[in-house]
Structures are given as structure tokens and as C-alpha cells.
Symmetry: C2
Subunit: 305 residues, 2 copies
């Protein structure tokens, strides 16, 4: 299995140097998620050949324009292309008011249903609980109510060692083996010993998205050990006063959060327009957490198990 994360926008509030406002696409199995949707997201999706029709769930972290202003245009494009399947949108309250006003003045009735899920401020909660994965909110610490998102595979059943399987083992017996059970005969004797037929399941994958936020103790606990962490790094340490004033993080702080959380890999983004060259921003984070990478439009990060 794999999560494939594609960066659509890496810019902070003020877009610069061709960088787009925040948006990411996350693919897992046949699921396609959009995380934040800054202005121009639909153009970026087209540029990187990602179909807008497959997107089933959109997660909006907060209602600063650079995180959602591309949403209405995307919805209208889905509508014009005759989308009919439901679309789930997760956001704090307010986005619904804005969307409804926009639809009303355009006199538009969309061809598809939007199912609007309202996030709760400051409270970690499971907002999507599917068969193979779940999505939890990560309460963040920003100027307005803001939430990150934690995508996690669920614990898997045991892997069968197919080389050991012989003809005559029934589907029911295989299901028992996958659950970790021995298969017994009618007298209670072991017919198929579980440990001979199975291998340990793969460790579930996890991806945590944290933007926008200043460092916040609770984040490190919640993201503990994730395979991939995206954390905003709007500023460098020399601008730490500005980072506090605007409730953002520095690259070093993103690195420290990753280190404390013992994550496997860190991607930083939401770069201030003051940084044309992102090399020093990356270096600052890598000095603390070497496995750090820059969010660059079009770059993908794939995690597999």
C-alpha cells in the first residue's frame, strides 16, 4: 500500500515566485483527497494531470483565504463537467455561508451534493472512519481556529505466506488464518497452525498535515512516529518575533516538532514571500531534522509499507 502526496501549492499568504497558495493532493488506494484549496488549485490539478472527478473528500484547515479561495472555482468546474457523485467537505463553520452566498448570486444549483462536515475547535476528533483508514483532526495554534489532519491506515490483518498454501485449504480456513487463529479439526486438534502460514502485518501508514500553526505541545504527541509530516515553516529563525506575532512557525521549529514527534520524514512549506531562495530555509530545518524536504509544486512524496 502507499500514500502518495503531491504538492499543488507551497506559498504563504502572499504568493510569489510562481509559488501557489497552499494545496495538496493525497492518493491512497482508490481514494483521492484534497487538503486545503488555495487560489489556483484547479489550475495546478490540471497542470499535474490529477483528475478533479476522483476527488471525494476535501479538507480545509482554516478560513484564511490562501487555504480555501480556490474551492469555489473547483466546485464550479466539477459542476460544468457534470459531476454527480457526492463531495464531502470538512471545514470550520463559515465556509458553508460563503459558498451559499456565491451560489445564490451566481444563480447556480450544482449537479452534485456537497456533504458539509463541521470541524470542532480545539478538539481532536475522528472525522472520517472508513474500512481501511481514518482521518483525525489535529488542533493547531493559529490566529483563527485551525485544524491539521492525520491520515492513518488501520491495523491490517496478517499477511498470508502464499507459498505455504496447498490445494484443499478452504476460503473459510484462510479467513481464520488471516485473523491470527489456528484451524482446528472436529476433535479440537490443530489442523493448520497459524504461525506456519502467516507473516506479521505491514505497519499501517500515516501522514500528518499541520498548517498553519505556531509550535504547540499537543501536536508532537499526536503526530508521534508518523511516516510523513507536513509542517508549515513560514519563516526562518531570524524572523522568530514575526512568527510569534502571526502565529506561524520557523523552519527550525518545524524541525524540532518533527524530531520530538520522532517522525520518519518532514516536508516543510507555506513559505513567506521574503524567501526567494529556499535553500537556507531547508538548511535551517535540516540542521535539526536531517530528513527534511521542501514542498515544491508538482513534487510527490510516496510512502509505502
Amino acid at each position: 500500500m502507499s500514500f502518495k502526496l503531491t504538492i499543488l501549492g507551497s506559498s504563504g499568504a502572499l504568493p510569489a515566485y510562481g509559488r501557489f497558495p497552499t494545496s495538496q493532493h493525497l492518493a491512497y488506494l482508490n481514494h483521492n483527497f484534497l487538503i486545503d484549496c488555495g487560489e489556483g488549485t484547479q489550475l495546478q490539478l490540471a497542470r499535474f494531470n490529477i483528475s478533479i472527478h476522483k476527488i471525494s473528500h476535501i479538507f480545509i484547515s482554516h478560513l484564511h483565504g490562501d487555504h480555501y479561495l480556490g474551492l469555489t472555482g473547483l466546485l464550479f468546474s466539477m459542476h460544468l463537467q457534470r459531476r454527480e457523485s457526492d463531495l464531502h467537505i470538512y471545514s470550520f463553520k463559515g465556509l458553508d455561508e460563503i459558498l451559499l452566498a456565491q451560489l445564490k448570486h451566481a444563480k447556480s444549483v450544482l449537479h452534485f451534493n456537497i456533504i458539509f462536515h463541521t470541524l470542532t475547535e480545539g478538539k481532536q476528533e475522528t472525522i472520517l472512519d472508513a474500512e481501511t483508514f481514518s482521518v483525525d483532526t489535529i488542533p493547531l495554534d493559529h490566529k483563527i481556529k485551525t485544524s491539521g489532519f492525520l491520515f492513518r491506515e488501520k491495523n491490517k490483518s496478517l499477511n498470508l505466506d502464499k507459498s505455504k498454501l496447498k490445494p484443499g485449504i478452504s476460503p473459510e480456513q484462510i479467513a481464520m488464518l488471516k485473523k491470527g487463529l489456528d484451524v482446528l479439526d472436529e476433535h479440537g486438534n490443530i489442523l493448520l497452525k497459524n504461525s506456519e502460514f502467516t507473516m506479521a502485518p505491514k505497519v499501517p501508514l500515516s501522514y500528518a498535515y499541520c498548517s498553519d500553526t505556531q509550535p504547540h505541545e499537543a501536536i508532537s504527541a499526536q503526530i508521534k512516529g508518523v511516516d510523513l509530516l507536513y509542517h508549515e515553516a513560514t519563516f526562518m529563525e531570524e524572523e522568530s518575533a514575526k512568527a510569534r506575532e502571526t502565529k506561524h512557525s520557523t523552519a527550525a521549529e518545524a524541525g524540532r516538532t518533527a524530531k520530538q514527534g520522532k517522525v520518519k520524514k518532514l516536508v516543510i512549506g507555506h513559505f513567506s514571500a521574503r524567501y526567494k531562495d529556499l535553500g537556507p530555509v531547508l538548511t535551517e530545518a535540516r540542521n535539526i531534522f536531517p530528513e527534511t524536504y521542501l514542498a515544491i509544486e508538482g513534487d510527490s512524496f510516496e510512502i509505502t509499507n
Copy 2:
């Protein structure tokens, strides 16, 4: 004098092939106007090195998303870059409601004033009356209330033939000559004969913007003889049924409107995503009105007198 029009977006409602939704920048003297503001307009302004700070007036034709969804992002960027000067926005009612909802949920108070001017449906009116130019609305015929805009230089005073001026002619006498008057001496005799010192004024420049609309008799009358007409050409004739259904125009219809209006030059845009190659669209319009050009992102059209 000159009007310089720069195309920022040429696409119809569904952006495709790297074409952006509708937006244009118009420069005249030290004035900078923005006409419509589709998603990504601020990115296009940056790409074509047009300062967002100089823009003083924004004209929004109607409240379909592809004509205004870039506005809020642009306003936030002006705010983040500490704009303080007033910004005039002309639009039908509804845009104010949308902007206020967005500002409320972002908990943002802009550093500058927005002066919101409400357009009147179906009525031609002068919405901006400055010393050297005026802007009138052009009522259009679309699915929701929509207005084009007519930018016109005002009639100019006579041009002085500077080679004829001699020392001793006072500023007051020059002013009289410019007004078309002869200068008389105390006895009522002609001292300076106007026709000897002046040349006819240059013909005032004019630019008409018409998007979105189906052909509409009143448009031709109002745009009569303009130097430059932008007219939407969403479809080609083979899709004329679709054009009627969606209240848009074909390229041939745009050409006919230009021909009837005896305009000097026509620019067509708002192209449907079904046309990757715009060559045939241009040919269709040119067959009726040869002085037709395609709106292409980054292209400028300069008219001078």
C-alpha cells in the same frame, strides 16, 4: 495618449490548456484599471510585471465565479503589502455580501478602504466621470445581470501649434486660444486669430468591454466606432444552439457586432474549453470582421491618437 490593454485571462468558465479565467488590465495615463478578476488574476499580474498597488478601480461584470473569484485573494495581497489608498470596486449587489463574509471568517480588517459602487441592472449609466475620461456601463444579455464597460477619453481642448507661439503671448491668451477663442485687443480688434495658432484636437480614444453576453441590439449602438472592442466568443457557429442556451456569443456573432458597430479593432475571448486550437475560432470571426485578434494571456493591445 494611449490605452494599453493587457489580457490576463482568456478562458471561459472552465479553465483549460493553461488559459486563465477572465481578467484584463487597462492602463491610461497614470490610471490602472482591472476589468473582471477571475481566479489566479493576482498570479497573472505578477507574471506580467503589473503592480497590484497602482490599481485604483476594479470593474466586475457579473457574479459568475470565473469573473470574480480572484478578487478576494488580490485584496488580501494588497492588505498584506500594506496598501493604504482607497480602492473602488464596481459590481452588482452581492459581491459585497460575499467579501464581507470572507473578511468576517478570516477575522481580517483591511488596511485600506473599499468604496463599493453598485451597478444598476439593464440601465446604461456613467459610473465614473473623471477629468480626462469616463466609464459607462453597457447592459448585456446573459443568464444573470451582467454589465460591460465603456472607457472613453473626454473631448480634448485644441492643440496649440507651438511653432507659431512668440514670446509675449501670455498664459491667459494661450488658454483662450486652446478654448477656440480669438484674442482681442482693448478695442475689440483681433490680436491673435485662433485658427492661426491651433490644430484640431485628437479624436478621443475609446475601449468597450463586453463579456458575457449573447448578441444584443443595444450593444452595437453603444459601442459605435470605438477604437477597440473586446467581445466574448465562447463558441463557434456550429455550437450556436449551445450559445443560445447559455446566453453566450459565437465568434461570428462577435464579428457581426463589431461590424455593425463600425469599431476599429476587435479582440475575442472567453473561449470554451472545447477549443484547444483557437485558429478556427479566429478565422470564423475574421471572415466577418477582418480586424479581429485573439485574447491571449500576456498579449497587449495599445491604441493611441
